[in-house]
């Protein structure tokens, strides 16, 4: 590292360059803008007063990016429609340089790219820079507002410059700067304030402690107004009269005299209230009501703008008691199609398109670091992957992606220590987690158990003894008048204690008979008795044939120990015609019904979960652009807290 030095040609003060590649610097004593020609310094102008900014970064601030230390050596300040931002020129320890962009507490580190751009992409168009795809997200017309310190090029007489911001995968970021021809390209990444590990910051600008506030009076009604974001505030709306004013104007120029429905739009979290969310303390600084009109029906929701000096801004949104914690996305979600529907992918999560609508700002209160106007319109596309919701807001000059996470009213209540309980959610919200998700996976488990049962059934069918232990044919003639009871020969029932199936088959035709059958042990022990009536009738009546009963029957006796048995059979028949019949005994007969019966209790929880989940999803999607025809929003009276 070299540290060339010289003297200011205007005042003689010593000029020390912290970065050997610096082309321009400002004299710390007289604010002359000096351009370096080898060792000579030429005064080319005088730096304008640097606008006050809420940034804690200053010349000499040290930090690190990707484990490489840097020092802030210069600064360009730009003013644009929504305020101003800083481009801090940073020198790394390897004597290379880059830029630390600092806009509304959003930080990005970039380096100049050698790639040249043939045509500057329009908003929404893709461009390949250093073999990576970037999408143009916004075009900003900015005006030079001041310089400080060392810069790698002469930059003191610029007027309006056009910047195109681009986003790529992950946190990658690029800017096309049209101050030169061909345009300059810078490529880098977004970085969190804490990750930059900045030291030697301005002590008069808070970086996480109590916010710096400004007290003003409403230009319309005189009520006290507190600007909690200090210089960052661009628009402020008086909570007393609803007048919307330009916060960057010293006299609070009135942009909108009053807003209708002020009395109906009382924020549930008061402006200025602080709360602990995601480990940081956030202050509610702004409140707006936005809405869409779908099929002639107006839907409105409320948005709370939260601010933390280190982490920047985030939103809380509320619709019918459903809350979302929303952050602007730094990376670039990938827009894809899922079947015939649009979808998006971001950080490995797939989001299904839910709704596209034009959003109108209906009402604002408090302060905003950008210009907010009642009547502002943007196109909004919501993509859902509960509990997440990815939203794409687009205007002709800007595309903004934000990621919302569904949170319970209880969480908001506790975070902001609200005295009044927040209303319970009504209906089903787009990214509300499905309570039946707890049953997801039951279907797969059911399939596993069903397969096991069917496997067991197959094994049983293949390995069961299923043998005929006895079979005999007989004829009973009721006309003889003798007792019909008789016993069979002794037979063996083998194997483990299992079932024995007794089957009777007769030649009955439009007749019935009764069989008293006893399976008795040859020796001592337990016997089993059955009474079976066999009845078989059929005929032809009114042009149709009919049958009733059958000419056979069977009965199963469970858990019969192995041993030697015989049957005592006593047929009875009310008629006079002889009855021929066979009786057989089968041992260890496999069955299917126990396995099918086992499926039922297994299936019920999975089925219940599936029905509950489907019902909830049906109600969710009934509110979307993809609602089945005929669905209306008739569930608004239902309470569905998470």
């Amino acid at each position: 590292m070299t540290a060339p030095a010289g003297t200011c040609p205007n005042c003689g003060a010593e000029i020390v360059f912290r970065w050997s590649g610096a082309v321009q610097t400002t004299c710390p004593a007289c604010r002359s803008i000096l351009v370096r020609h080898d060792l000579n310094l030429e005064k080319v102008g005088v730096a304008a007063d640097v606008p006050e900014a809420m940034s804690a970064i200053q010349l000499g601030t040290e930090g690190s990016f990707k484990k490489k230390a840097f020092t802030v050596v210069g600064r360009i300040i730009y003013k644009y429609e929504l305020g101003h931002w800083n481009e801090w020129h940073i020198r790394f320890t390897d004597d290379t340089s880059g830029w630390l962009s600092d806009a509304q507490a959003e930080y990005a580190v970039t380096r100049a790219s050698t790639q040249q751009i043939r045509a500057v992409p329009g908003v929404g168009e893709d461009v390949v820079i250093e073999k990576k795809i970037f999408k143009a997200m916004s075009v900003t017309k900015a005006a030079y507002a001041g310089v400080e310190g060392e810069l790698p090029f002469e930059y003191w007489d610029k007027s309006e410059v056009s910047f195109t911001d681009l986003r790529g995968d992950g946190d990658t970021f690029a800017t096309i700067d049209e101050s030169e021809s061909p345009p300059l390209v810078f490529v880098g990444e977004y970085e969190d304030f804490t990750e930059l590990r900045l030291k030697n910051l301005r002590e008069d600008v808070p970086t996480g402690a109590a916010p710096q506030t400004r007290s003003l009076s409403c230009a319309s009604c005189g009520a006290a107004i507190i600007l909690r974001t200090g210089e960052a505030a661009k628009t402020v709306a008086c909570a007393a009269c609803g007048a919307v004013m330009d916060a960057s104007d010293a006299g609070l120029k009135i942009l909108l005299q009053h807003q209708a429905r002020l009395q109906h739009n009382v924020p549930q979290i008061a402006l200025g209230r602080t709360g602990q969310l995601k480990g940081k303390r956030w202050t509610v600084i702004g409140y707006q009501v936005r809405g869409i009109t779908v099929d002639g029906t107006d839907y409105e929701w409320r948005e709370y703008l939260l601010w933390n000096p280190e982490a920047g801004f985030r939103y809380l949104t509320e619709y019918d008691g459903h809350w979302n914690d929303v952050n602007v996305v730094k990376g670039l979600p990938k827009e894809i199609t899922s079947g015939a529907r649009p979808a998006a992918e971001y950080l490995g999560t797939r989001f299904e398109h839910f709704q596209r609508a034009q959003v109108t700002t209906k009402f604002v209160l408090g302060e905003f670091p950008w210009e907010v106007r009642v009547g502002d319109k943007v196109w909004n596309d919501d993509y859902v992957a509960p509990p997440l919701m990815l939203s794409r807001e687009s205007t002709p000059s800007e595309i903004t992606w934000s990621l919302g996470t569904y949170v319970t009213p209880q969480l908001i209540q506790e975070a902001f220590k609200l005295e009044t309980p927040l209303p319970r959610p009504v209906g089903v919200f787009a990214n509300q987690p499905n309570p039946a998700t707890a049953t997801s996976g039951l279907g797969k488990l059911f399939v596993v158990f069903a397969c096991l049962l069917m496997g067991m059934c197959a094994v049983r069918q293949a390995t069961a003894r299923n043998e005929t232990a006895f079979s005999g044919g007989y004829r009973f003639n009721p006309a003889t008048g003798d007792t019909a009871a008789f016993v069979t020969k002794v037979f063996d029932l083998k194997g483990h204690p299992s079932n024995a199936e007794v089957e009777i088959f007769t030649d009955l035709s439009n007749d019935n008979a009764f069989f008293s059958v006893a399976l008795l042990p040859e020796g001592t022990g337990k016997g089993y008795e059955l009474g079976r009536e066999v009845s078989y009738y059929f005929g032809y009546e009114d042009g149709e044939s009919w049958t009733e009963g059958g000419n056979g029957d069977r009965a199963v006796i469970a858990d019969v120990p192995p041993g030697r048995y015989y049957l005592r059979i006593e047929p009875e028949h009310a008629g006079t015609t002889p009855v021929s019949y066979t009786v057989s005994v089968k041992r260890d007969v496999p069955r299917v019904w126990p396995f099918l019966a086992g499926l039922v209790p297994l299936m019920l929880p999975a089925l219940f979960g599936f029905i509950s989940k489907s019902s909830f999803e049906g109600r969710r999607w009934a509110e979307s652009d993809y609602a089945p025809s005929g669905d209306d929003d008739d569930d608004d009276d239902d309470n569905d807290s998470e």
Binding site: V487, A518, G531, A555, G598
Partner: protein
């Protein structure tokens, strides 16, 4: 998935064991009348045995 649904897993395992036991023993909801101490004379004189099921012409019912 296994850790998510311990009760369902328990239910499933118990059901598998129950089905196996039912099928192994041949259990059936149909209950025949069990008779103990069957006299050895039945084989010699089957008519002397009084069964529990008696036919009454058009229907039968348990006797005794």
């Amino acid at each position: 998935m296994m850790k998510q649904h311990p009760f369902y897993i328990t239910l499933g395992v118990l059901l598998l064991l129950s089905v196996a036991a039912v099928e192994w023993t041949g259990w059936t909801p149909e209950k025949p009348t069990e008779v103990k101490d069957v006299p050895r004379t039945v084989r010699d004189n089957p008519g002397s045995y009084r069964p529990h099921y008696i036919y009454y012409g058009s229907s039968y019912r348990r006797g005794k």
